[in-house]
Symmetry: C2
Subunit: 495 residues, 2 copies
């Protein structure tokens, strides 16, 4: 009994101290709301649109702001040169530097690396914004502005987390590193090479990587444990050596567009109800287990709201589990468009000579891009061969990004569940993203570290869309979540 | 016997006089070659591109040049104001005036009206021209330049015809009118209203309309007796209220592109070998008679050359009669492209919210655009209904141009055959155009006059393409053909 007391008392005391610390930190955050919003306003005011090269000076300025902020908290900050960006006209301009920072290097503690980005999607008032996109505007507790949710507020929430400890002169429970980039919205140009180059330096002592570049599914906080990959195909049908007038030549040549539409069309790629018809694709998908079904069943998701948001009469599936499963853990085929055909408004009587159909297949476990490439290529060629067309078909896979999936029982996720329970008093939704977040897969493949996606963005934040916002609630409570999360991570047994 | 002599002698004398006249005129033409080429050079030098509004001053200048030329020959010339052209930005600019001219008004003679145009398609050296497109360049007897064959040389050949009579102080065998427009290449904007307005004035005494805005099929001279019409359709499938990210939303919505490709695809509009599958379309086509088959069989046409010119491995039909029949007297379906989908280079993971497929069906006797509209609309809706899609389909016919067909036994065509025999010592090919020449149909419907298409362009002139040319041979012998043709027309019995 005494032995037990001897063991338990320090544990209880530690837990009590921890609870007290958290309470102090939380109170600090509550006292800093106006200042946090002001910093977000300053960051949103920088038009760090990475897709528009004319905005490159703003983007460089944004990286400097980020570095300054991290430096002001006493971090060991570096601005890593990741080289040049080649432009379509053959010129090159410098990529925005990647900002890395380090707070603490106690070998007895875990080291986490926070990944985020401070570049944004394009935005113009006339696109349909109710407010000036680069002037953060508070309406009923929602902070409207481009980049507010994607990804400036989450990056700041992590910085405020560190700042809170510094302000209270408290020791960080884990070592914290930052890796903040400025090209995420245009494909993280230069990042993979940088990660590879720093695998044995910056990443050497990193235990866990945390990504907060996504959102919840509903009003309930969530942990994200998977993203789909993507295989993007070009199917190019080539016929006459140049475009022909359809009046003069129509009826004498087998037209490439007829061939292309034929091989992409009904009963080839995907059935009217959404069933993928390419042999072998569906068979590769990991079976949907009963536990998974149960997990999906527990997720908070409003079908009617989703339908209304998209503006469609009916969804592909009329029950929550099937719908979410096909959004996250089943493959799907999307036909994006055709290059080389007439695509302007008005009418043109052309027989396009060479047309390239573009479609992609979202990847999920246990699909393998190399196998998918083979399946799609062989299938399209076999369908095309049946047409006995004099035209030629070339199938190319131009992107082959693998899906990413984490183990929701991993201690990183258990820590996340605990932190969410402490801050929000609920169990989190365990969700996936239908899209591809290639950096997660890159981190995993290159560094072999464990990764968690810990979102604080709202389900209706309008990323990449007009009227993007971050709610004040998510921004502030999100900061508290990050603080609580670091405490939970500190308690993971060191191995 | 005496009676017969009394009747025959004046006829023989007249025929002899006519032959002498023709010989003198022919000799005159041969003596003017350098001057004719020089005039064509001056006309080609005017960049009268009607599609480029920045070239509008050049186009106005071209109309003035044409009027001056006709005036210099003593014609009664008018420049008819046909109003304004509305531009996409809402502004309006004046249309080029239509030039009309009249030579002779002897009521005992026939009156012909020559239709032509002096505007051109765009051309730039860097498009792949071997020579400067607006600098007429003579290479081995071919006169290269934009608009040389389409339609400046034929218009000039008609003007030279009149000029030859004037120069030799000979009376024109028929009254000759001209109607020369400057908007043909962009759809003859304003012309139909002008023709309607002048139906009972300018056109009142016109007996025949002659169009020389087409070409031969081979090296053998031809008469053109038909053109196909065209029904142009938009099939618009609309789904979500805005474009969606295919990663985030793919698998939860029935995508409009899948629907559109499905209803345009294999076994819907047209089979892989070119058979139209829309019910009722093939049934409406006028039967292919044995006489017609024979006529097609007699046409000079080099399949290998055609195949090589288009750069295709195989044509839709491997025998001359079927190929030409499907080029001219059978309908065909061409899918031109899709508006609203991704059409640029590169990859984009978009689910387009609204996509408009554009296709057209060439019209031949006895198809009726109103019926075709109904057949296509009902068929597409029935195919779409089977998909049970939540998206909506809207089918619109935006052009419904009827085919045009002349009677090859008509005295106008008999006159053409005679003239060709006299100038070229061969029987002409009787051919059609696969494309639509709407002005022919407009003339026929509005004025109810008989029309002939009398081409002098070569089969390989490259209209609308790079390296357009008119051969010196066709230009000069074409002028002689026009002279001979007027003589033949003069001999048509006045009714």
């Amino acid at each position: 009994m005494r032995v037990l007391v001897l063991v338990l008392v320090p544990l209880l005391l530690a837990a009590q101290a921890d609870a007290l610390d958290l309470e102090k930190l939380t109170r600090h955050v509550d006292g800093r709301v106006a200042s946090y919003v002001q910093t977000l306003r300053e960051w949103v005011a920088v038009e760090s649109d990475s897709s528009d090269v004319s905005k490159r000076p703003e983007l460089h300025h944004m990286m400097n702001l980020t570095a300054d902020k991290l430096r002001s908290l006493g971090g060991k900050v570096e601005m890593v040169d990741i080289g040049l960006q080649e432009l379509p006209d053959g010129k090159s301009i410098p990529l925005p530097k990647v900002v890395t920072a380090q707070f603490g290097e106690d070998p007895s503690k875990h080291t986490v690396c926070i990944y985020g980005h401070v570049d944004v999607q394009p935005a113009k008032k006339e696109d349909g914004w109710a407010t000036e996109p680069y002037n953060l505007t508070d309406i009923n507790g929602n902070l409207y502005g481009r980049g507010a949710s994607d990804n400036k507020a989450p990056v700041l929430a992590w910085i405020h987390t560190v700042e809170a400890y510094k302000a209270l002169d408290m020791e960080l429970p884990v070592n914290v590193k930052f890796l903040i980039e400025g090209m995420e919205e245009t494909g993280s140009n230069g990042l993979e090479a940088m990660i590879i180059a720093q695998r044995d330096t910056f990443f050497l002592d990193v235990d866990y990587i945390i990504i907060s570049d996504c959102g919840w599914l509903s009003r309930r906080p969530a942990l994200t444990y998977g993203t789909r990959g993507n295989c993007y195909f070009f199917a190019e049908v080539e016929g006459p050596k140049q475009d022909l007038h359809s009046g003069v030549y129509g009826g004498t040549v087998i037209e490439p567009m007829t061939d292309l539409i034929g091989i992409l069309g009904e009963y080839t790629l995907i059935s009217p109800s959404g069933k993928i018809l390419i042999p072998g694709i569906r068979e590769a998908v990991a079976p949907f287990s009963d536990e998974e079904w149960k997990m999906y069943q527990d997720i908070e998701f409003d079908m009617e709201n989703y339908k209304e948001k998209l503006g469609v009469k009916d969804l592909m599936y009329n029950n929550k589990v099937d719908l979410l499963a096909h959004r996250w853990r089943y493959p799907t085929v999307s036909i994006h468009g055709i290059e080389g055909a007439f695509s302007a408004s008005g009418s043109k009587t052309v027989i396009p000579a060479k047309v390239t159909g573009k479609f992609s297949i979202r990847q999920v476990p246990n699909m393998d891009p190399a196998t998918v490439k083979k399946q799609v290529t062989e299938y399209l060629h076999s369908v095309f061969a049946k047409r006995k067309s004099p035209n030629s078909l070339k199938v190319t896979m131009i992107i082959g990004a693998k899906p990413w999936l984490a183990d929701t029982q991993h201690s990183l996720y258990e820590a996340g569940k605990e932190a969410i329970k402490k801050v929000f008093q609920v169990e989190p939704d365990l969700i996936r993203e239908g899209g591809t977040i290639p950096v997660a897969r890159t981190f995993q493949d290159v560094t072999e570290k464990s990764i968690i996606m810990l979102p604080i963005g709202g389900f209706d934040d309008g990323l990449h869309s007009q009227n993007e916002k971050m709610s004040r609630y998510n921004y502030i409570e999100g900061t508290k979540l990050f603080i609580a999360y670091l405490h939970e991570v500190a308690q993971i047994k060191k191995v």
